[in-house]
Symmetry: C2
């Protein structure tokens, strides 16, 4: 019956309802938004008996349709994961509300007072795949920052997401906020995604989360503004002056601590003058940690126990315990290599040479550039933002880890006493 009802409400109505709800949400107090979020956190645990059977259905369909075991794992919810989701919602409650913050302001010579003030975007669209936790994460972050959301969670999680969207709308209604602030276009399949990408005047910003393929499609087909959260082909340069112990620790931590995420190391570049000194201990430590070394000829001459690196490897985000390793002539060569293959996510150097450290920080173009630190620190939580919306690899609006303020726009509030322009 829910399906029938869902199909009855056309997509235009859903987009318009989200836009109308956004007007209400823009002016509600932080206390009201936090109360709604608490209701959501409670419902995630209390309504497990509705959520888990729907999730079972999606999992059964996934097995039938040959969904990979990795995607099946992302899709799966259980009571422990629902508890985690509720805890994540409560972390969002604990964050400061960005709405109303005055970013800058002044009194003009004619007495006009101007204040650039944070306001919600309005309607945030999200397109993602087979991850019901994103439904809750994005909705919680968007609501806290005063935004309505329109979700496209993909067919693989359709049943789970339908229950979660109902839960979200119900929690909003019960706490006096508009349930229409959470909409889904899932019943419309691919057409729903397409409409979301072209919903100018209804969707203020669209955030794709998922595979490189998904993100590319959204970037290319959208006429609404997109925040691109991209892949990380992350490099670490070991300078001639690098301390050996630090080089080992930073390389191993960057690669191994969680290899499947975007801030994990993919390519290690070593200055030729330090290659004989550093490559054996660093690569041995990496191999002991389970890493498969894909090395160029110069590196293999020093550390023979490695697979030859291919030209494709340099541009690949392995997301596994595979590492590309190369020897470079100098810092210029290293920066040149990074310019060619970087996805502009995170780039790091281990060095004790001040001039080269500063050159690296100034000349490498990436969301995050680091000296003497693990690349795994590119993270909203580590940066002290609390929950993270994603890591932007574009240069417009937000770059690097995004927190709640990145889900807002600003407006200029001008207060006068009858001023006119001469």
């Amino acid at each position: 019956m829910t399906d029938t009802l869902a199909a009855v409400r056309p997509i235009e109505k859903r987009l318009a309802a989200a836009r109308d709800a956004a007007v209400r949400l823009a002016t509600v107090t932080t206390a009201q938004k936090d109360a709604a979020l608490e209701a959501i956190a409670l419902a995630l645990v209390e309504r497990a008996d509705e959520i888990l059977p729907a999730n079972e259905l999606d999992l059964a369909n996934g097995r039938e349709n040959g969904l990979s075991s990795g995607l099946q794992d992302r899709l799966r919810l259980d009571r422990a994961r629902l508890d985690q989701l509720a805890a994540a919602v409560r972390e969002v409650i604990a964050l400061p509300d960005p709405v109303g913050e005055v970013v800058r302001g002044s009194a003009l010579p004619n007495g006009l007072r101007i204040a650039q003030t944070r306001v919600p975007f309005g309607v945030v669209g999200a397109i993602y795949e087979a991850r019901p936790n994103v439904t809750i994460d994005i909705a919680a972050l968007a609501l806290k920052s005063g935004n309505a959301v329109v979700l496209r969670g993909g067919s693989a999680a359709e049943n789970t997401n339908r229950v979660l969207v109902e839960l979200l709308a119900d929690a909003l209604e019960r706490t006096g906020l508009p349930g229409d602030a959470v909409q889904t276009v899932d019943p419309f399949g691919r057409d729903g995604a397409r409409r979301l990408m072209t919903a100018r005047g209804f969707v203020d910003v669209l955030i794709p989360r998922g595979s490189a393929e998904l993100i590319r499609t959204v970037v290319e087909e959208s006429t609404v503004p997109v925040i691109e959260t991209g892949a990380g082909v992350v490099h670490l340069v070991l300078d001639e002056s690098a301390d050996e112990a630090m080089a080992i620790e930073v390389a191993v931590n960057s690669k191994v601590q969680r290899p499947s995420v975007c801030n994990a190391l993919e390519t290690l570049l070593v200055d030729a003058r330090a290659a004989e000194r550093l490559l054996p201990p660093v690569l041995s430590a990496l191999r002991e940690a389970g890493v498969t070394i894909h090395a160029d000829e110069r590196a293999r001459a020093i550390f023979p126990d490695a697979v030859p690196v291919t030209p494709e490897d340099w541009g690949t985000e392995h997301m596994s315990l595979d590492l590309s390793v190369g020897v470079v002539d100098d810092l210029d060569s290293a920066i040149g290599h990074i310019r060619r293959y970087s996805t502009k996510h995170t780039e790091a150097i281990v060095t004790n040479d001040l001039a080269r450290a500063e050159r690296f920080l100034a000349e490498v173009d990436a969301a995050v550039v680091m000296v003497n630190a693990s690349t795994r620190f590119t993270d909203g939580g580590q940066f002290g933002f609390g929950a993270e919306v994603g890591i932007s690899t574009q240069k417009l609006h937000a770059r690097g880890p995004m927190g709640l303020p990145e889900l807002t726009s600003t407006k200029w509030v001008v207060r006068g006493t009858g001023q006119i322009r001469g």
Copy 2:
């Protein structure tokens, strides 16, 4: 000969050259950039004998091709206008350089120091029509903020722009900066514009300036991020409590001071309870200033000497001495009308009622919202930004008047002493 040379260098090479030049520009000092800008200002005056004949050729072609007299005026350069352009470049020299500004930063508990630092976008693309002054304006603003530019100035100004681009490149070279930092795709016609809109990896942000049609095309066809500088259907609400003298002054100034620009008033809405008191003096003053009143029935019942307003008028940016006038029941009706027809540029109210002033500022969604001030104040110069890149009507990255900082992105600079993630 220049034409032949220009055509010889393919578009890919131009985009790549701009990208390479951007790497250099990102790290040059403010003094170096200011020296190049001074060389540009000097050359605009010294090379008038090259610029003006090229401009004459464009004007002759324009007359032959039936270019409107308005566009011919925008296209025309003379010695006085070249002096003004040089003065505008010197205003950019006087602005603070945004590059290197630390937007925020902190020391993390583990000792890592993080600093979000302003950096140039890299390559700024600009698509505009028949306005050679934009060639100089955009190039100067982009260079001051450390960006390379790729320009598409349109066929109507092709000869003028070719000379201006040569002048810009020459001034850069003579002061030791890469001349490749200024590129044009004009020799490639419409295909050049299309390539610019899809030059992902080469162009970091694209700014369209010109007609609504041009801007819509760029927004719809671009796969590179766009900053939309849009039209202004600007409203002024006269509240029940509005002071009569202030209502007259603000309405007349908003409409008449410069009617052809985006922050000029297009629609006046009057609260029904104040209509009899305010409409006669306000509309009389407007008419005396040469304004044609297009009024709804309720307004014409009070002020009969007006043209009937059409449904299309409410959504029209006249850019002329025409004004749409309507009577609304209350503030809710006024805000409802604005929500329906606003282009989210500038919206204003004249009121002495504190609660309604605050409601207007909070509930109206626009780049600039005003109480008791002329809408003509939405302007980078008036806001104290110095030169203005444009007025953004989108919500991503920049909203409202854009200054030099809006031509920058940020990167996170992380400095450690070997920290790894536990």
